[in-house]
Symmetry: C2
Subunit: 119 residues, 2 copies
DNA sequence: CTGGATCCCGAATGATACTG
DNA sequence: CAGTATCATTCGGGATCCAG
């Protein structure tokens, strides 16, 4: 995600920072608390380690996520949402999630919601 | 913005619906109320009519925006946020705007904010 | 050796310019 | 305004590298 040099509006900046196929899902998954790369990879359906790493890196650079690396065996890295920025963006994502659920209900996609236990 | 056939999460769906360089700004501008294409084009710095039209079309298809065409000469079309979906997404965008302002303050981009009168 | 992270490349998609 | 062409970015695969 390449940022522009100038933004006409802070909103654009943030939108660019969370733009990308996997970023919202990663942040969403991180709402459950600090977790490892392996767990993220397991829980996020369809993502590859490479994509996960790339997007995590950007989220980290933009200050939404941070990580702790604990050396030793096995080598373990844990990722978590930063406070307040990471936690704040979650508020926005919650609204989007809510809109999505309502939208799907109203557009005959209830089946998918049931399968995920969201309804 | 091509939507996928399956989404693992409603959040992804919404993120895809507002993805695109100009969509957040268009929605943001529409928070000020119903307005015409010409005014949008004038107020959104750097957008071309083509881009504006395309993005408005998608936002309309996804139910965030609607338009009223009042016949007569000249033919006048006005766009506005739908209720509740369009207004709801605005709540998410407000949070993003806020995060963006804070981010810019903390990263030496205050100058840009002052120029826009946001600070 | 194992898990974490980066590099290079082709294919697909988005943005903008150009044109009628 | 719509259609097409061009240019820039992103996605994803696979190889590779680094560190304990």
């Amino acid at each position: 995600m390449k940022l522009r040099e100038t933004y006409t509006c802070p909103l654009e900046l943030v939108h660019d920072m969370i733009k990308g196929k996997w970023k919202p899902i990663i942040l969403w998954r991180l709402r459950l608390g600090k977790t490892t790369l392996a767990k993220l990879e397991r829980d996020i359906e369809g993502i590859t380690q490479k994509m996960l790493l790339e997007h995590l890196k950007e989220l980290t650079e933009f200050g939404f996520v941070d990580k702790v690396v604990s050396g030793g065996y096995p080598l373990k890295t844990e990722y978590y949402l930063t406070s307040p920025q990471g936690e704040r963006i979650l508020d926005a994502l919650k609204i989007m999630q809510e809109i999505g659920i309502t939208y799907m209900k109203n557009n005959g996609m209830e089946q998918a919601l049931k399968e995920k236990g969201l309804i």
